[in-house]
């Protein structure tokens, strides 16, 4: 009896139907709408937009719905769509000191121009399950706008940089930035390329790596110089127009970490920076990214490169969850041929091993 591998096509079609049915769940309940996901699962939407490298809350919410809440699958869906989009150009560099802030904190100074704005954060929620949500009973007050005037809150890093206490970032030479989604990664990787990679890198991977730098795998003493979350206009300068036009607002989270640096032969002692930026409200991602960005500067700063988080090739080649997810799960594909080859070899080696055992056992 031959167990044929026929019927695969029918099986795939049946599987697709089951995916749809399983996603829908109990039909006695109303289907969740894309708008509900966009509004009520905004942090999931933020992660999918950031790691999907596409700012579109509606499509991110659609991807989450289609993926039944599997965020990495949703990121994959969004990326596969993003690939097909034409590139019109590169926007003007964002100046985050112009942000319309929803939240802004600094752990390095007690008070800062513009003040500390706690805003919306889970930090002080005490994580007790709120059973009133289960009953859908309590009315939630609508959020009042708490935005701070942008001109009143310059970035903390700029104060320190003005005193040379903080490393200046190298000046933008005006050349177009690299595009990681259009060019293959190559080494040595520029900081711009690295930051692009980290910005779309898996939050869990970066979190673990960032954490490892805090526990001694790559010595770093970070201070949260500033974390800000809010809205920022995106401008684009069409050549034929000659002036920049506002093409919309995006919600972003930015994190600047200051790290101690004792200086080198050419650089005086000063603080160095780790930088993190993510779409939406995503502080954990932005902070983890900043930790890893700083760790990856080890070589340039003349520090020993010993820890995984400092290893540029290791980090950049393994940060992408769509790549990682695909390759890990490709093990589900048939490997009959390779396995057959290995089986044949192991059997042969075992026969030879047993032959040797019998030979050496004879004198007894």
């Amino acid at each position: 009896m031959y167990v044929a591998v026929k019927g695969g096509e029918a099986a795939i079609l049946a599987s697709l139907e089951q995916v749809d049915a399983a996603r829908r769940g109990d039909r006695a309940l109303a289907a969740i709408s894309v708008a509900q996901i966009r509004e009520q699962m905004r942090l999931a939407v933020a992660r999918v937009m950031a790691e999907g490298s596409l700012y579109d809350p509606d499509l991110a919410a659609l991807a989450i719905k289609q993926a039944a809440g599997d965020l990495i699958e949703a990121i994959f869906l969004l990326r596969a769509y993003r690939t097909t989009l034409p590139r019109f150009g590169t926007c003007s560099a964002l100046d985050t000191s112009d942000m319309l802030l929803q939240r802004r904190i600094s752990a390095t100074f007690k008070d800062i121009p513009g003040g500390q704005v706690l805003g919306s954060t889970y930090d002080y929620t005490q994580r007790l399950l709120d059973f009133t949500l289960l009953a859908e009973a309590a009315a939630v007050p609508a959020l009042e706008a708490v935005a701070v005037e942008p001109e009143a809150s310059p970035r903390v890093a700029d104060f320190l940089a003005a005193e040379e206490l903080l490393a200046r970032e190298s000046d933008d030479d005006g050349s177009p930035p690299p595009d990681l989604t259009r060019e293959p990664l190559s080494f040595p990787a520029s900081r711009a390329m690295r930051l692009q990679n980290l910005a779309r890198g898996d939050e869990g991977f970066l979190l673990g790596l960032g954490y490892s730098t805090q526990r001694g795998y790559g010595n770093s003493h970070p201070f949260a110089g500033e974390i800000r979350h809010g809205w920022l206009s995106v401008e684009y300068l069409p050549e034929e127009l000659g002036f920049a036009i506002d093409i919309g607002e995006i919600e972003i989270t930015e994190c600047e970490l200051f790290n101690q640096f004792k200086g080198s032969a050419t650089v005086p002692p000063q603080f160095t920076r780790g930088y993190g930026l993510a779409f939406g409200h995503a502080e954990r991602k932005a902070m983890a990214m900043a930790l890893v960005d700083r760790a990856l500067q080890a070589e340039e700063l003349g520090e020993p490169v010993a820890a995984p988080a400092q290893d540029i090739e290791f980090v950049l080649y393994h940060s992408d969850n769509v790549e990682a997810s695909g390759f890990v799960q490709h093990l589900k594909l048939p490997h009959y041929v390779d396995f057959q080859s290995e089986l044949e070899l192991v059997r042969r080696l075992r026969r030879e091993y047993q032959g040797r055992q019998e030979c050496s056992g004879e004198p007894e």
Binding site: Y2, R79, T84, V322, G326, F327, H335, D338
Partner: protein, 281 residues
Amino acid sequence: MSGPAAGYNFGYLDEQTKRMIRRAILKAVAIPGYQVPFGSREMPLPYGWGTGGIQVTASIIGEDDVLKVIDQGSDDTTNAINIRRFFQRVTGVTTTTLTGEATIIQTRHRIPETPLHEGQILVYQVPIPEPLRWLEARESETRRMHALAEYGVMRVKLYEDIARFGHIATTYDYPVVVNNRYLMRPSPIPKFDNPKMHRNPALQLFGAGREKRIYAVPPYTDVVSLDFEDHPFEVQRWDATCSLCGSADSFLDEVIVDDAGGRMFVCSDSEYCQRQREAIS
């Protein structure tokens, strides 16, 4: 055959991207065995499931092409079906299971048993393109080793296998030297298939999507499996013949048929097996 899916370009990729990939392919053909970096796109199929081969096929396929897709030698494994369905949706081209009729054959892990002919293109899906990767993890370092043709480390690895096991313990993805210059990974085909690469009349293209590399073996190019004078390269042999068609010279898969561990051997190349059976009856 239905036309390509609405809303998408023929072959899914836009024409600019196809041109970029074709330029990479031309460079690969010009330098046999050399891994050309290319701006691999994110495809709607997962990385590791053939995105490199799919991008190569999508860039070279035309309306008159006839496509065959195999995985483990078979046209009817789920991944092969899925990729074939993808190209049916986005190109509407004719597909076939017949090796002789296909103009493009996309494959994972096998070279068809039926010899290929001039004008055919064999597109391999490649998971890890770098033959030195298990010996040197760093891309910056392996690229330097290729530049200097510094391949001693692979010879040492094969020698150590012989010293420890009495054999070269590599059974698939067995390293080859292409055109007497570049060490190349043939993708995880069994070493049984390696001799088929040598001076093959068909063009052989290799796409690694996740690793963003394309490489090629042009028609009639020398492809030599690494070996030693006293340990010549040899391919797998079976005591059994195919239980279905009786073939004694094809690659056989082992199938477990009962709870007692009873097994039978059948051709991995399902199309070849089918034609052999038709020839008998």
